[in-house]
Structures are given as C-alpha cells and as structure tokens.
Amino acid sequence: MEGILKKSKDFILEKFDGATLFQENDVLLDQPLMTLEFASFSDGKEAVAKAANVLFMKYLKSGSTSSYQGEQIFTESQMGEALKTVGGNGPEPDLLLVYGPARCHLGFPAWRIRYTEIQHMGPLKSMKYGSLIKAIYKFTMVQQNYGK
C-alpha cells in the first residue's frame, strides 16, 4: 500500500527546482541539491517480510540447516543488506519531524529510526518556519551516548 506522497512524487519534484530524487547508493554528504526520498507504510514491516524471504532463500541454499539449531544464523548487517536489496533500507534519519495530532512514528521503517530524534511538530496546517528552526535547534542541543 503506497502512500499518497509516493504516488505523487513526480508532481512534487516538478515544484522544487533544487531537488533530486534519492538514489540507492547516494552518498549524503556535501550534496549541492536537496535529495528527496519518499517512504510509505509498505517500506516498514512488509519490507522486512520481503527481506526475510531473501534471507530464507540463502538459508535453504546453504545446505545442511540442521547444524544451525540454537545458533545465530544471520547478523544484523546481513539483515540490513537484505533490506537494501528489497528497497527498504535507506540512510537513517538524524531527525524525524512528526506532523499530525499525535506523537507517533506511525510505522516508519523500524530499521532506520534506531537512534533518530523524534520531534512532534503539531498539526500540518500550523506548520511555521519558526517552529522548524526551533526543532533543529533542539536537535543540536542533544547529546547521545549510544548505550555507553
């Protein structure tokens, strides 16, 4: 089930002179143009199910599977790679702005928001430049330990 933004992405890109569509192997740093990527609900759990089938095929083809009993079969990086092949694993956002009535990530692809700052901005119609600057400022004041 693709979201409405994804379906209208050509129309949206037309409106922005200085933006390009995100490509799979794009390097994010020092981009001259803004890169837009459109994600929808199907890029979340459903993409994980697809990636699981990719890993399953590899698991079957690897031959004797009885020797894997109780052991770890896949690593997290293998999972990440599999997600990438099914198109469900782009770069991890540093900041996630939620526009809507509730502070909830609504199924944003789980693999990508592990350490993302999630900020609730209120309803879409009250979007203001000032609140965006404030959100970015709050983000710069944050200090992460990443578990340490």
């Binding site: 089930m1 609900f41 979340g44 759990k45 459903e46 994980v48 199910a49 990636a51 699981a52 089938n53 890993l55 399953f56 095929m57 590899k58 698991y59 079957l60 083809k61 690897s62 031959g63 004797s64 599977t65 009885s66 020797s67 894997y68 009993q69 770890q72 079969i73 896949f74 690593t75 997290e76 990086s77 293998q78 999972m79 809507g100 009535p101 509730a102 502070r103 909830c104 990530h105 609504l106 199924g107 789980a110 693999w111 928001i113 592990r114 350490y115 993302t116 700052e117 999630i118 900020q119 609730h120 944050v142 992460q144 990443y146 578990g147 340490k148």
Partner: protein
C-alpha cells in the same frame, strides 16, 4: 517487612527506618485511588512501556556514588509499577538493559548485573509485588548474552510466575529491537524450512504410493541419503567460512553443486527425482504473521504508550517494531524523579490522542 513512608503527596517509597504513619498513609492512598477512579472514566492504556533513562545523571545531580542512581531508579520503578497495576494497566514493559549497554565500563556493567540479580531474587519472595498483584514476569531479549547466574535467576523467576495471570511485567534485558527482528526472521526461516522438508517428504511418499513401484520405507531412505550428502558438502563449506561476506559466495558455488547432486540422484532413481524437481516451486514463503509470531514481545499486545524519562525524544533501539501506533511521551524528569504526577499526565495525554491512534490502527 518493608514499611512505606510517603515523601510526596500520593507517592510512597520504601525506607527501612520503621516509621509508620497510618493515618497519613490512608488519606494519601484514598486520594490516589479516587484520582485513579476519575481517570478511569476515560480510556486507560492496556500496555505501557518505559525507558528508564537518567539514573546516572540523577546520581551526579544529587552528588551520590554512581551505583546509587540505579538503586534510586529501582525504587521509582517499584512505586510506578504499583500505580500502574492499581490503575488497571495490564501490561508494563521496561527497558532494563540494552545490548548496547554492554559497551559500558566492565565494572559498571557488573554492578548493574549484580543489582538485577539481587532484585530478581527479591521478586521470588512471598511479599513481593508479583504475588501482591498476580504478575507474570517475562524477560525479553537475547538471554544467552547474560552471565550464567543472571540468566538462571531470570529463568527461575519466569517459571515461578508463569501461572500468574492478572498482569504482566516484561523486562527487556540484553535487548535491542534490531536483534529482536533478526531473531524473529531466523525463527521464521527455521520453521519454514522444517515445513518445507516435511512437505517434500510427504510428496515423495505419496508419489510412490500412487505409482506402486517402490515401498514407502525405501523412498524415505533415499531422501535421508540425499540430505546426508548435502550435509557433508556443506560442512566443508562452513569450515571455509571467513568473515560475514564469504558465506554468500560459498552459497553461489554450492548452487551448482546442488544441481549436480540433484541430477546424479535423478539418474539413480527416477521416482525420487520427480519430487525434487518440484522442490523449488514449492518453497513456502515467510509472511508477516510468521515474523510477528517469533518476536520476543509476541507474549503481549503492542504498547499503547511509550514513556521515556529525561526528556530525550529517541527510541534507542527499543520496541521499534511494536510502536507503529504507540504514543511517545518524554517527560523532562530523570527516572528516579518519575512519580505519580508524570504517570497521571501521561494518561491524560494518552486519552487525548487515543481516538486518533485507534482510527489509524484500524486503517492499516
């Protein structure tokens, strides 16, 4: 016996000094129960999750020794759990220890493990909270990463409380959401592979019963031979495994071996090859429900609200899969400072957004 002394209105914490003010206790308990009854007029969450952040900052702020922050955090947790179960919240999940926390200094990790062991043993006592409220405790995470005494204590607590059914406490230790997702995918793979093997075994048996040329037992024997051959070959491949990258290359070259084995077997017995030619077409697919079934958190419904203390607004690899329709709330108070007022405020926020999130959940 533990005595309770109220320090803020409506809050109580345990101290060992034996002071007991029954009248004041009764008044605050009564007020709190009345407050809960008023709150219960609106929807109450079924499942609350907590990220207990800020113990170390609290210790620094109060000029305490480092480990004391965690002990103060434990007391805050016990009070909060009592309020939750009093309010009728059936499931409470807490983020006790992340896999990422193993990166901390070894002495800090050890003191946290010691604290957990001590508190797990306390849970097994007669007068502990689990018996008072009929709580079933589940430890969620990759428990094999824990040291033997901690893991054994966790298993014991789970076993002893397995028959309690009034409420549930899910303690996430050695947990990250990414580890949970990979583990669930692994579980689904193992399950589907078993299904696949049995399905093909049955198919071949059925084929031969139809043709009447081979006895059932003989066909099964041939299949077992086949799997033994492939296991010998894959053993060799496994020994050649280096870092993470190599297994895939090994698999690609093995694909051609698989074909060779198939064709060699085919020349041996025509009936068996019929079944194996159909192998690839009948591979069962992993569906979303299979993955959901194998999640560590499958023992409880998805949380309705996730509360992270200390005002931080990230999930830090906690319950990423389960929070699609979960409201996130970040009170500024550090974890040991969390009390009744933050809980009440959280419930009110939940009630505010409840109908919107319910609607969202039904849409998907």
């Amino acid at each position: 016996m533990v005595t309770s002394v109220p320090n803020k209105v409506g809050n109580y914490s345990s101290t060992g000094n034996g002071v007991h003010k029954p009248f004041f206790d009764d008044i605050t308990n009564f007020l709190r129960r009345f407050l809960f009854r008023v709150l219960s007029v609106g929807p109450i969450p079924t499942h609350l999750a907590f990220i207990m952040d800020g113990n170390r900052r609290y210790a620094k702020k109060q000029n305490l020794k480092e480990g004391e922050g965690h002990k103060a955090g434990y007391l805050a947790l016990m009070s909060l759990l009592r309020y939750c179960y009093e309010l009728g919240i059936k499931y409470v999940t807490i983020y006790a220890f992340s896999i990422e926390n193993f990166k901390r200094r070894p002495d800090e990790v050890q003191s946290l493990m010691d604290l957990m062991l001590e508190k797990m043993e306390a849970l097994l006592m007669e007068e502990s909270i689990v018996n008072q409220y009929g709580i079933r405790v589940c430890f969620i995470g990759n428990l094999r990463l824990l040291s033997e005494p901690v893991r054994a204590a966790a298993e014991k607590v789970m076993k002893v409380t397995s028959n309690n059914s009034k409420a549930m406490l899910l303690v996430c230790v050695a947990y990250t959401a990414s580890n949970e997702i990979v583990h669930a995918v692994e579980g689904s793979c193992k399950e589907k592979e078993k299904e696949f093997r049995l399905c093909n075994l049955n198919n071949n048996v059925m084929d031969d019963v139809k043709e009447g040329e081979k006895v059932n037992g003989m066909v099964v024997h041939d299949i077992q031979d086949f799997y033994e051959d492939t296991s010998v070959e894959s053993q060799g491949l496994k020994q050649g495994k280096g870092c993470n990258g190599t297994p895939y290359h090994a698999c690609e070259s093995f694909e051609s071996n698989w074909d060779q084995v198939l064709t060699s077997k085919a020349s041996k017995s025509g009936e068996v090859s019929e079944g194996f030619r159909n192998l690839r077409q009948e591979v069962p697919l992993i569906k979303l429900v299979d993955i959901e079934k194998h999640m560590y958190m499958a023992v409880a419904p998805d949380p309705d609200m996730l509360i992270r203390s200390s005002g931080e607004s990230r999930l830090s690899n906690f319950l990423l899969w389960q929070t699609s329709n979960c409201q996130l709330y970040s009170p500024a108070a550090l974890w040991p400072e969390i009390g009744l007022s933050q809980l009440v405020w959280a419930i009110l926020k939940f009630q505010q957004s409840h109908s919107y999130l319910e609607k969202k959940m039904k849409q998907l």
